[in-house]
């Protein structure tokens, strides 16, 4: 829309009071697609609730976790033997325990821990102890959530970028480029995804695990990001390819070609903006899927290694590992050690799914809301 900036014209139209910048002021203002999407999104109460929950979650696992650690005075890997009974049963939620790493006395037949020396401080374990080591379960859920979300979001970004690049190439150029990329996509999609993730995750776990970017990420996170991203970019690639193929022969692309725009410019400024809204929605759903994958791969022993907590390793905590599953012993386990990470995973994946669904409907121009 060509806006008239000439002062005389503006004065004239202002005095007449009907047209401003060539637009009827009495008519509703034209809105950008993002404003429209925001209006549609606001009406979806479930999606808004999920968005708020996700914001809170990101705050809790990001800056919130160390803040909480300062508040209670311990970290996720500190162990408190006083939170574990002599029979090795971890304490339940809302436990206040002695903040010491050592048990006083050395009587192996004692039925109770002897009290610690006078003056030992106390500390709160909100969800109790995590295992016979007596670490803070709540802090481990927070820090584990950070690791799981880092993996999931990072892998989604990798997948979307790769998918956008290859999908745009295949969709725009067609011909043999499209044939090669599409056949490659078909090939990798025929793989049993989880089987390959577990296999590659444990076979090639030497180089990438140590990449932590100066402590910004935990060990193993970057490797999982790369592996999961490298195996999930097909769906975004297909979305981008289909979208660009349908837009490639439209008039505005022809016009751009006619005025001499280069291919990169056409793809970047004329085609990719159409792909961004569905990709955003799809990316949110991908984060949800990736959380499931991270949990699964770590549970199966090919992901994040202990002592770093992630939701997958927390879930495996009471169950054991594939080579030595812990035999069930009611005297030494607590059901909430399985329940806590389960609930965290469920709520997060549910919120991401609902938020992504809301985003998809809000950004879809054909949406009726």
């Amino acid at each position: 829309m060509g806006r008239v900036r000439s002062g005389a014209r503006a004065e004239l139209t202002a005095s007449v009071g009907i047209v401003d910048d060539g637009v009827d002021v009495n008519a509703p203002r034209a809105q950008g697609q993002w404003a429209l999407a925001w209006r549609r999104f606001k009406r979806d109460r479930v999606a808004v609730g999920c968005a708020v929950f996700l914001l809170l979650l990101v705050f809790a696992v990001g800056p919130g976790a160390p803040l909480y650690g300062k508040l209670v005075g311990h970290g996720p890997n500190d162990f408190f033997p006083y939170a574990v009974s002599v029979g090795l049963r971890p304490a339940g939620p809302f436990t206040v325990t002695y903040a010491t790493h050592e048990v006083a006395g050395d009587d192996p037949y004692a039925l109770k821990h002897p009290p610690p020396p006078k003056g030992t401080g106390k500390t709160l374990l909100l969800l109790g102890a995590d295992s016979s080591l007596g670490r803070d379960e709540f802090m481990r859920v927070l820090y584990g959530g950070r690791v799981s979300l880092e993996v999931a979001a990072g892998a989604a970004v990798v997948a979307i970028l790769l998918g956008m690049l290859l999908g745009a190439l295949a969709g725009y150029f067609g011909g043999w480029v499209d044939a090669v990329i599409s056949r490659f996509t078909d090939l990798v999609m025929a793989f049993p995804l989880l089987l390959f993730l577990v296999m590659i995750g444990s076979l090639f776990s030497y180089g990438l695990t140590r990449w932590t970017f100066h402590g910004a990420l935990n060990q193993g996170v970057f490797q999982l990001i790369v592996i999961i991203g490298a195996f999930t970019w097909f769906y975004p690639a297909r979305i981008v390819r289909a979208q660009i193929q349908s837009l490639r022969n439209r008039e505005f692309v022809e016009a751009a070609q006619m005025v001499g725009a280069r291919d990169t410019r056409i793809v970047r400024t004329h085609l990719l903006p159409h792909v961004v809204p569905p990709l955003l929605a799809y990316g949110t759903l991908l984060v949800a899927t990736n959380i499931m994958i991270e949990v699964g791969v770590t549970f199966l022993g090919a992901g994040i290694k202990l002592p770093t907590a992630s939701w997958g390793s927390l879930l495996a905590q009471t169950w054991g590992s594939i080579l030595n599953p812990n035999p069930y012993n009611p005297a030494t386990t607590q059901p909430w050690l399985t329940l806590c990470p389960s609930i965290a995973i469920f709520l997060t994946v549910f919120a991401l799914n609902q938020f992504g669904e809301g985003l998809r409907e809000a950004t879809d121009p054909r949406s009726v809301r």
Binding site: S182, R183, D186, L187, M189, A190, F191, P192, L193, L194, L195, F196, V198, M199, I200, S202, L203, F204, Y206, T232, F234, Y235, R238, A288, T289, M292, I293, V295, G296, F299, L300, G301, A302, L315, T318, W319, S321, I322, L323, P325, Y328, P330, P335, T338, L339, S342, I345, F346, V349, F350, N353, Q354
Partner: protein
Amino acid sequence: MTGYIVRRVGVAVILLWVLSVITFAIYLTVPQDPAGFLVDIQHASPAQIAHAHHLLGTDRPALVQYGKYMGRLVHGDFGISWATISFFGGSAQGSPVGRLVWQASLVTGSLVLGGFVLLLLIAVPLGTFVATRPRSFVDRLSLGLSVAAISTHPLVVGLLLQLFVGNRWKLMPASGYCTISRPSDAAVKAFQQFGVTGAPPPCGGLGQWAWHLVLPWITFALFFVALYTRIIRARMLEVLEEPWVRTARAKGASEFRVVRSHALRNAIAPVVTMTAMDAGTAIGIAMYIETVFGLPGLGRTMIRALAGLQGYDLPVILAVTLVAAAAIIVLNLLADIVLLAIDPTVARRGRGGLSRLVGRSA
């Protein structure tokens, strides 16, 4: 139609071959010394290590190794599991990978097949029922439940079922697998004489087999049931609008008869082929379930081979990957052919390549 099938089979064969190349490339690049399965690497002399490589055949050029590997593969021989290998008089002894993988696929097969049967037993009646009452309370309830079910990790379902139903309330066996055939008398006798304390007695038979698989089946079905119910509901709603349904009603057929014989029969055929297309996802889910419930299936076999103490048992890992991928490819091919038999327009529309494999990830 024949041309279509021939083309699809050709694509499947090429895909399988490429998969074998890729798995073999992984085999060659894995950072480990396979000599560790025969000698103690830290204390063995270089000559001993070289001899171990010679016995395992890993000292030959990559192309020769690939040729031998493919030659054996064509004959259905997957080699011998490295974890059990030993050499007597120059010939390799140990458990053949083919038999290991065959036994494992029987377990995975019983899990996946039974799971799908249970799933259809729940989803078909439920989906049909809610389709006849759209927007009712039951319909909205099933929608809400399916949204929740999609967000639930199968590991979570499996672990909670195992913890509560199996371990705390002791209603069902919490883990373990029983063969469908009865255990041999010799095995029972051996257990009675030499049985390790705490080890489960050998079990078998149809009843025991099913009883041990109830919780795994439920876990498996719960993952898919929401999706299938929604799909059957959507298909039914579509079909119920068709003119032949109206004709059947006009002729005075009872509503039950209309739904069962006229609508459901048409709605369900694509759903049955959909189960074959979900094979890839199903194998992933089965991997979780086998791990949690201790079923010696394909996924668990592979994870054990990956986690072995001496090193990665590569022949087993490759065989499992190939068999799983082959199963997925063959099932998708079958689904396509069955779909073609139901709806001959598919061939003319020409689904390019393997676009059917676009499924959901596990």
